[in-house]
């Protein structure tokens, strides 16, 4: 599904390398988790994959179902099936949440040569999905993320994911800022999307989320590289002992 090979990335503005050779493959139907200390490059990886400006790829490649991601515009990556749930969802005053999502859904459909969703169908689907995530109708009418609480913003990301039905979902610390109940709602939302044709890359600091979204593979990222890969137990080890042992072991 997602294949990242020897990815090196530096900042555009200054000559600072952030990713120093990331190798990672997420297979369809699998959930991979990435953990790692603050500043190790997890968010940078997710931004580079989704096409944000400000980074330069100096080496390596990233493919989604064989298509060269790095050659595409951000909207083309989205239409190809990539989705990033932002660590810090963006507030957009003046753009209604509903208008935004409908524009996005139909833009993707159009890009894929599919028929656009009618206003009525869209409304029906979004109401049902919002309800599952405990997002009330009032929030859908408000401008995108404006005045949303931290947890509401994260749930809104998952709502977008549910509406767009991407093939490859990257979740960047979607659990941070969530209360216990919201965490369960978000996890249920993610689990509902799990199927054989879809891959997940879940970035998190805590085992808690992984209790709900059971990963198949866990990676540890440090200083711009994946330094260790293992099964679900690896997350438990981090939870109990922190990163010191692992980092010492690979140093």
């Amino acid at each position: 599904m997602l294949e990242i090979k020897n990815l090196h990335v530096k900042l555009e503005e200054e000559d600072k390398a952030i990713l120093k050779g990331v190798d990672l493959t997420v297979e369809a139907g699998k959930v991979h988790a990435i953990m790692g200390p603050n500043g190790s490059g997890k968010s940078t990886l997710s931004y580079v994959l989704s096409g944000r400006d400000g980074y330069v790829v100096t080496e390596g490649a990233a493919h989604l179902e064989g298509e060269d991601l790095l050659e595409m515009e951000p909207e083309e990556r989205a239409a190809a099936g990539l989705f990033l749930a932002f660590q810090y969802p963006v507030e957009i005053p003046g753009v209604g949440n509903m208008t935004f999502l409908r524009t996005a859904v139909n833009a993707q459909r159009k890009a894929r040569g599919e028929e656009e969703m009618s206003a009525a169908d869209f409304l029906k689907v979004i109401r049902a999905k919002a309800k599952e995530l405990n997002i009330d109708a009032e929030m859908l009418k408000r401008p995108v993320n404006v005045g949303f609480s931290g947890g509401e913003k994260k749930r809104n990301e998952i709502l977008q994911m549910a509406m767009l039905e991407p093939k490859m979902c990257i979740l960047d610390e979607t659990d941070s800022g969530l209360d216990v109940d919201a965490m369960r709602l978000v996890a249920d939302g993610v689990n509902a999307l799990r199927d054989a044709g879809r891959g997940f890359l879940v970035i998190t600091h805590y085992q808690r989320l992984l209790d709900h979204i059971k990963p198949d593979v866990v990676h540890i990222m440090a200083d711009g590289r994946i330094v260790k890969t293992g099964g679900p137990d690896l997350a438990l080890e981090v939870e109990n002992n922190g990163y010191a042992d692992i980092l010492a072991e690979v140093a």
Partner: protein
């Protein structure tokens, strides 16, 4: 001295090619008084402080600089709104295309025909609000308009108008130079909406005087036409009585040069006056909103909301003032002027001013100039919205506060659709 002499020359050259329209006594008197004002002030020049950001030369030269005709299928903006339509082609009344000038609760006549009649109310408005708006800042182009306007409408409203009066300005001659003057009195408790649209002429000088009596309501929604090369200088002079409402909104797309002045005097307690403008310019576009709101009564509210989206070297200007006179307590004044610069070639020049002589007031003003929010743009694109459409969404979001000033939902939707169409055609 040299500057003064040059001003006198510019004024003499301009007046030399104009004829003072003949008509009945009251109109002739008003025109002659206005002509005296023009001669005393002289036409604006580049050195005038009030024209620091906008070069008036093309508005004062004797002949109108030519303007190529644009797509004659000017997007009809108000077609879904039932209205009484009055059409001017290059400033000349088109009887064929216009509806009968009759509606319950309204007296409508034309300036070109009014001179002979003794329209008593018009005497108290025509040239009167304009003259009172000449201090503290001079507006010579408005006085020129009062003196030389060839036509326009005179509307007295005594009840609630069943539908808006729509003034449509068509542009069919590349060298037309039109001067129109509208005079409106909304009597106590009466209610009128005026719609205006179209480019009007190669050069258009338009003045509208509106006297809103106590408890009356006046709404004005204007779209200034899509002609690329047209030039316009417009003035609105409003006097707003007690518990009256005055609301004006203007959408400007294209136009080489536009100067829209509004002079609003709130003279009765508990009145509300809002003036708003949204303009979008691409390339050879210079748009100037110059607004002067005076509070001379207690417990009144005024709002100025002006938003400009500029690209490819377009220029936006805002000069806005709130003057709160002594004794105008409990004034609530708000002014915002903002520009969204879509590239580094475009510029926004703003001069926001507050002058307050009462102590119990709330007045705020703000002016900002910024680029598109790259983070928001990326967020939209990451959800699959193509860059051009995402930019348009952000542009519309930026303009929303101005469009929200249009009270009537149907008209607001119409304006929005017009704007969306323009943006979509400009996508690259």
């Amino acid at each position: 001295m040299a500057a003064l002499a040059r001003k006198a020359d510019v004024t003499a050259d301009r007046l030399a090619v104009l004829d003072l329209p003949q008509g009945g006594k009251w109109a002739t008197e008003a025109r002659q008084a206005a002509l005296a004002r023009v001669n005393a002030m002289g036409l604006p020049g580049r050195r005038d402080e009030y024209w620091k950001y906008t070069d008036p030369t093309n508005l004062t030269v004797p002949e109108a600089p030519p303007a190529a005709l644009f797509d004659p299928r000017e997007t009809p903006v108000f077609d879904d709104t039932e209205r009484l339509q009055i059409v001017f082609v290059d400033g000349v009344f088109d009887a064929e295309a216009s509806d009968d000038l009759e509606m319950a609760g309204l007296e409508i006549s034309r300036l070109a025909e009014a001179g002979g009649h003794d329209i008593h109310w018009a005497k108290d408005v025509y040239g009167v609000l304009e003259a009172s708006g000449q201090a503290p800042v001079e507006r010579p182009l408005a006085a020129l308009n009062t003196a030389y306007a060839t036509d326009g409408v005179l509307i007295r409203v005594t009840g609630k108008a069943a539908k808006p009066v729509s003034l449509m300005y068509l542009h069919k001659s590349e060298t037309s130079d039109a001067i129109l003057h509208h005079t409106i009195r909304v009597e106590k408790g009466a209610d009128l909406t005026i719609l205006e649209n179209g480019p009007a002429a190669a050069r258009f000088n338009k003045c509208m005087e509106v006297d809103v009596a106590d408890g009356a309501a006046f709404h004005h929604i204007r779209v200034q036409g899509r002609d690329h090369e047209r030039r316009a200088a417009t003035h609105i002079f409003a006097r707003v009585g007690a518990a009256a409402t005055f609301k004006s909104f203007t959408l400007t797309v294209n136009g080489r040069l536009t100067r829209n002045e509004a002079v609003i005097e709130i003279v009765g307690d508990e009145a509300v006056a809002h003036i708003a403008g949204a303009s979008v310019g691409d390339g050879d576009f210079h748009h100037d909103d110059t607004v002067f709101v005076t509070h001379d009564a207690v417990n009144c509210e005024s709002r100025q909301v002006f938003k400009k989206v500029l690209r490819n070297g377009a220029t936006g200007v805002f000069q806005g003032k709130i003057l709160v006179k002594e004794g105008a307590q409990k004034t609530d004044g708000y002014q915002i002027s903002q520009s969204l610069l879509l590239d580094e070639d475009s510029q926004f020049l703003a001069k926001p001013e507050l002058e307050i002589y009462a102590d119990d007031v709330i007045c705020s003003h703000g002016s900002t100039s910024g680029a598109i929010d790259e983070t928001a743009l990326f967020y939209l694109r990451s959800r699959g919205v193509p860059e051009a459409a995402a930019t348009d969404l952000l542009v519309l979001a930026f303009l929303a506060e101005a469009l929200d000033e249009i009270e009537d939902e149907g008209l607001r939707e119409g304006i929005l659709a017009h704007l969306e169409g323009w943006l979509a055609r400009r996508r690259r």
